[in-house]
């Protein structure tokens, strides 16, 4: 069973939703017309075609083109040793598509990473939080309109939580000071 045959079977099942298989450097790619059906296509690929191993999910920013996002799934079958690439477009207004965590649990962190880096949301994901950047970070750094040098962002003073019980007291480090003298309790006079 080759990847091309498997791709044709997938195409036969979903018909016009999928493009014809394209081959480049020995790899087979299919494009899915409607992002909403990815979970369904994934479930069929896993159960009927043996693509039990989700290698990777990644995303592209087609800045200036519509649809702005491309999400790319790399599937692999451990038994038949074939790769298959599924890609789909998501437009900027929507920036959301269904999760595949119900099909492959490894999708959990991959989808969190895409949300973190590109800002595409996955509906139905059990725990869609930022994963590499910190909670509360305002930008999506892998977008093409985000500069390589980065943008200044507010880092919340005391990590990202409520004040500590003794905060503001004479013996507690004052966060947010411009230098160590301002922050350190022993550098302050007790009344200041």
């Amino acid at each position: 069973m080759t990847a091309l045959e498997l791709a044709k079977q997938l195409k036969a099942k979903f018909g016009d939703w999928l493009s014809d298989p394209a081959e480049f450097r020995g790899e087979i790619s299919l494009r899915l017309a409607d992002a909403e059906r990815i979970a369904e296509v994934g479930a069929f690929a896993k159960q009927a075609l043996g693509f039990d191993y989700l290698v990777d999910i990644t995303s592209l920013d087609n800045y200036g083109n519509d649809p702005r996002w491309t999400v790319v799934y790399h599937l692999y079958g451990i038994a038949h040793r074939c790769y298959l690439r599924l890609s789909l477009g998501v437009n900027e207004e929507k920036s959301a598509l269904p999760t595949v965590t119900g099909v492959w649990r490894t999708a959990d962190w991959h989808e969190r990473e895409i949300y973190d880096m590109m800002g595409i949301r996955f509906r139905g994901h059990p725990d869609l939080r930022r994963i590499l950047m910190w909670e509360g970070y305002p930008y999506f750094p892998l977008r093409k309109d985000f500069p390589l040098a980065g943008k200044p962002s507010e880092v919340p003073d005391v990590a990202f939580s409520k004040p500590a019980p003794l905060e503001g007291g004479p013996f507690v480090t004052a966060p947010g000071g411009k230098d160590a003298i301002e922050r350190e309790p022993r550098g302050r006079t007790p009344e200041s």
Binding site: V55, Y83, R105, W109, M133, S161
Partner: protein, 422 residues
């Protein structure tokens, strides 16, 4: 009952947030913040553990402390310029990362089959040395985490020799950047192959010694056997790869399943575990080192051109549009000068297209997805790092284990945060 918690860190705000998040109405559970700089987290992994007595009831891994934005950086430089960044992914096996990245770009260029045989053998030698190096550290640290310090000292002595070999071949002990797109930066120096032969003869003795220290050691077996059991189905579902996947008995090794370089011509076995516990993952790593030694011996026997390349076999593809021409030609010949100039200023002209290449790295499947729109820089480069995917199973695996099993499980996973956070 609300006083059952004891938070010793006066303020890490994140700790307070974690307590808030995991608060239990009865106040009987304790939240323990493990990491980001705990000795057994091998870098900067943080796990927020919710404990009921000594039993873990919930585990929330928190990663990203070492995030450097490698994928963003890659979009802004030529393919060749990114090679040094690959050293810093899995920094315990930089040679293997270099090879993986070079092979990915070569696949995109469509020159994978044109690599000269000597180059392929050198690259396989590098990969297998990196595998031994990484597994030596993995096993050594694993043993140290559960209390057997001697093993760590033994394995580190051997790793030192691999660093010497890396230095001899690439000029750097650690950040090797040895491969180039279409070849390697230089041929093996005189005497290198003989030194590799001597090293593998010594390392088998060391591996056997480690084996006598651990494999039937009652303390070791008690700490690792039936701890952290991952079923076959879970391992595949969570996308584990490398020794962690094979420890669960899934036969998936890219060197066999998607043969690249000259692995098709080499004989080696893929060790598999049975139970999928920490002990099996340890055994798989030990056997993989022996298989690597076997591969290295075969490579040294078969390497085209022999040890010191008397017959002057090429180590780079003969294409001036991909590989930098030799320096003496650059200064004397017009065509080579143009090639050199174009390569350095604009990079090679890569065709538009997208490829994924998965490489069997010591830690698992290191994959590069490259989307090119032509020209000298990738439009998007995604690194599929094995440690990132391997760690995602923790929140599923840890609950139900004793607190002290955490170190054994983390040790048996052998992850690297440089690669996980990228």
């Amino acid at each position: 009952m609300a006083d059952a918690r004891d938070i010793n860190v006066p303020d890490t705000g994140a700790q307070a947030a974690a307590v808030e998040e995991l608060q239990d109405v009865q106040g009987e559970k304790m939240v323990l913040n493990m990491g980001p700089s705990h000795p057994s987290t091998h870098g900067v992994l943080r796990i927020v553990l919710e404990l009921d007595g000594e039993i873990i009831t919930r585990a929330v891994p928190d990663i990203g402390y070492l995030h450097r934005g490698d994928e963003k950086i890659a979009e802004n430089m030529t393919y060749t310029q990114f090679i040094p960044y690959t050293d810093r992914l899995d920094y315990l096996a930089p040679l293997a990362n270099n090879v993986a990245y070079a092979l990915a770009v070569e696949k995109l260029l469509g020159i994978q089959d044109q690599l000269p045989p000597r180059c392929q053998y050198i690259r396989v030698l590098c990969c297998e040395l990196a595998r031994i190096s990484s597994h030596l550290l993995g096993v050594g640290c694993f043993a140290m985490d559960v209390g057997a310090l001697t093993v760590f000292l033994l394995t580190f002595t051997e790793r030192e020799k691999i660093y010497n070999l890396a230095e001899a071949i690439s000029g750097a002990r650690f950040t090797t950047s040895y491969t180039r797109i279409g070849g390697v930066s230089r041929d093996t120096p005189p005497g290198w192959c003989a030194a590799v032969r001597q090293f593998v003869n010594e390392v088998v003795v060391n591996i056997a010694e480690v084996e006598t220290l651990l494999t039937r050691n009652k303390i070791w077996v008690d700490r690792t056997k039936d701890v952290g059991v991952i079923s076959k189905a879970d391992a595949v579902d969570y996308g584990l790869s490398g020794p962690n996947l094979r420890g669960s008995g899934v036969n998936y090794d890219l060197r066999k399943d998607q043969p690249y370089l000259c692995y098709r011509d080499l004989q080696f076995d893929v060790p598999l575990g049975e139970v999928g516990d920490c002990y099996d993952r340890y055994l798989v790593r030990m056997e993989e080192m022996r298989q690597s030694v076997r591969i290295i011996h075969q490579c040294l026997d078969k390497i085209p051109g022999g040890f010191d390349n008397r017959s002057k076999e090429p180590v780079n593809v003969a294409d001036g549009k991909i590989v930098l021409p030799p320096k003496d030609k650059v200064l004397s010949s017009m065509e080579e000068l143009i090639h050199q100039f174009m390569l350095v200023t604009q990079g090679m002209n890569v065709p538009p297209g997208e490829i994924y290449f998965g490489h069997e790295n010591p830690k698992g499947e290191l994959g590069f997805y490259i989307h090119s729109r032509g020209g000298g820089t990738p439009y998007r480069l995604k690194i599929r790092s094995p440690s990132f995917v391997n760690l995602s199973i923790l929140s599923h695996l840890l609950p139900g284990h004793m607190m002290s099993d955490t170190t054994a499980i983390l040790g048996s996973f052998d992850f690297v945060m440089g690669e996980c956070d990228r």
